[in-house]
C-alpha cells in the first residue's frame, strides 16, 4: 500500500468491515478478546465432476458461559448449504435437515462423516482437493463466523 489515497480507501474498507462484524456480534474479530465459539478442523469433501452436492464437516466448541445455537450455514461456493443429519431408522438412512443446533457451554460438537454434516447443494464449480472454500456459520449469540474449509479427496473419511 503506497499512495495515501489508496491507503485511506483501504482504511475505510477495514473500518467498514469491522463495523459490520461488530454489528453482527463481533465473533469473527476477536483477535485479542477470547472467543466464546471456536470453529476448527473445517473440511469439505471434493466433488466428482459436475456432481453438485457434497458435505462439509467441522468441530465447534463453546468456550463461553451460555448456550449458543447454529441458526444457519452458507458458503459462497454453492447455491445452498444446510445443516443435515444422516439418521438411520430401521436400517434406512435419511438425511434430515437440522433447523438449529445448540451447543452448551463447555461442550464441543463434531460434525463428522456419517452423522451431522453441512450439506452443500448447487456447487458453482467442482471442488478439488487442496482448494479451500469459506463456510459461514450464523449463531444466535456469536453472530457470523467464517472459516476456511480445506477441500479433501472424495475418499477422505476425516
Amino acid at each position: 500500500m503506497s499512495g495515501p489515497i489508496l491507503f485511506s480507501a483501504v482504511s475505510f474498507r477495514a473500518i467498514w468491515a469491522v463495523t459490520c462484524l461488530m454489528l453482527n456480534g463481533g465473533a469473527a474479530l476477536a483477535a485479542d478478546a477470547p472467543r466464546a465459539i471456536v470453529v476448527t478442523q473445517a473440511w469439505v469433501r471434493a466433488s466428482l465432476g459436475q456432481t453438485p452436492t457434497t458435505a462439509a464437516y467441522l468441530k465447534i466448541e463453546n468456550r463461553g458461559a451460555a448456550e449458543d445455537r447454529i441458526l444457519s450455514v452458507a458458503t459462497p461456493a454453492a447455491a445452498a448449504a444446510q445443516l443435515h443429519e444422516s439418521v438411520s431408522t430401521d436400517g434406512i438412512m435419511r438425511m434430515q435437515a437440522v433447523k438449529s443446533l445448540g451447543i452448551n457451554p463447555g461442550q464441543s460438537l463434531e460434525l463428522a462423516p456419517g452423522g451431522l454434516h453441512i450439506m452443500i447443494m448447487g456447487l458453482k464449480s467442482p471442488l478439488k482437493a487442496g482448494q479451500t472454500i469459506p463456510i459461514k456459520l450464523r449463531l444466535e449469540r456469536a453472530g457470523e463466523i467464517e472459516v476456511e474449509a480445506e477441500v479433501r479427496g472424495l475418499g477422505a473419511a476425516k
Binding site: 471434493a46 443435515h84 444422516s86 438411520s88 436400517g91 435419511r94 462423516p113 479427496g153 475418499g155
Partner: protein, 204 residues
C-alpha cells in the same frame, strides 16, 4: 473316593458342563447366518465397464453389496471409504471378496460415472447400475429400500435408502447384513470373520 478326588470330580463336571455350554451356545449362534441362508434371487445389472453382470458372475467369491448413489454427500462416500479400508485391511485375502456399489439412482449414475466415482476410493470396488426395472429387482432381492426425495428450493432430488452392507457367500447364498456403525475397526474384524466364513466351502 477320597475327599480330594470327590472335589476334583465335582470341579471337573462343572468345567465340562461350562465348556459344553459354551460350545453348544456357539453351535447354535454362530452358524445362524448359514442356517438361515437363502439363495439370492437372480439379478442382471451393468458394471462400471458397461458389461452385463448377473448374480452368477460373482460366484466363487464373497460379494459385499452396498446400495447408494453418487450424489449422496455423506453416508455413501463414508461407506465407500470404509470399504476401501476393508480391502486394505484384508491384504492378500481381499481377492476372495468382491465389493460392489449398486446405484439406487440409475437415471444419473452411468457406468462411466460409477467408474470415476469409485476410483476415488478403490478401483477394486465394482460399480453396478442398470435400468430402473433392474435396480428395482436387485433392491427387492435384498430387501433394500430407496425413494426419491425432492430437495427443498432446488430443482434437484436426493435419495432415502438402506445403507447396510449385504454379504453374499461364495455359493450365492445371502449370508448377513452389516450396519455401518461408528467403530470401523470392530466392523473390519467382524467382516473379516464373516468373509472367511463366507469364503470357506459350505455344505451343499
Amino acid at each position: 473316593m477320597s475327599r480330594t478326588a470327590k472335589t476334583f470330580a465335582a470341579v471337573l463336571i462343572v468345567a465340562v458342563a461350562v465348556v459344553a455350554g459354551v460350545f453348544l451356545r456357539h453351535a447354535v449362534e454362530e452358524p445362524l447366518g448359514v442356517s438361515v441362508a437363502t439363495a439370492v434371487k437372480p439379478f442382471t445389472l451393468i458394471d462400471h465397464n458397461g458389461r452385463p453382470v448377473t448374480d452368477a458372475t460373482f460366484r466363487g467369491r464373497a460379494l459385499l453389496l452396498f446400495f447408494g448413489f453418487i450424489r449422496c454427500p455423506d453416508v455413501c462416500p463414508t461407506s465407500m471409504s470404509f470399504a476401501a479400508d476393508l480391502l486394505n485391511a484384508l491384504g492378500d485375502s481381499a481377492g476372495t471378496l468382491q465389493i460392489a456399489f449398486v446405484t439406487v439412482d440409475p437415471e444419473r449414475d452411468t457406468p462411466e460415472a460409477l467408474r470415476d466415482y469409485l476410483a476415488n476410493f478403490d478401483s477394486r470396488i465394482a460399480g453396478l447400475t442398470g435400468t430402473p426395472e433392474q435396480i428395482a429387482a436387485v433392491t427387492k432381492a435384498f430387501g433394500v429400500y430407496y425413494a426419491k426425495r425432492a430437495l427443498e428450493g432446488l430443482d434437484d432430488y436426493t435419495m432415502d435408502h438402506s445403507t447396510a452392507f449385504y454379504l453374499v457367500s461364495t455359493n450365492g447364498q445371502f449370508h448377513r447384513a452389516f450396519a455401518l456403525n461408528d467403530d470401523s475397526d470392530e466392523m473390519i474384524d467382524e467382516l473379516r470373520a464373516a468373509i472367511s466364513a463366507a469364503s470357506s466351502p459350505q455344505k451343499e
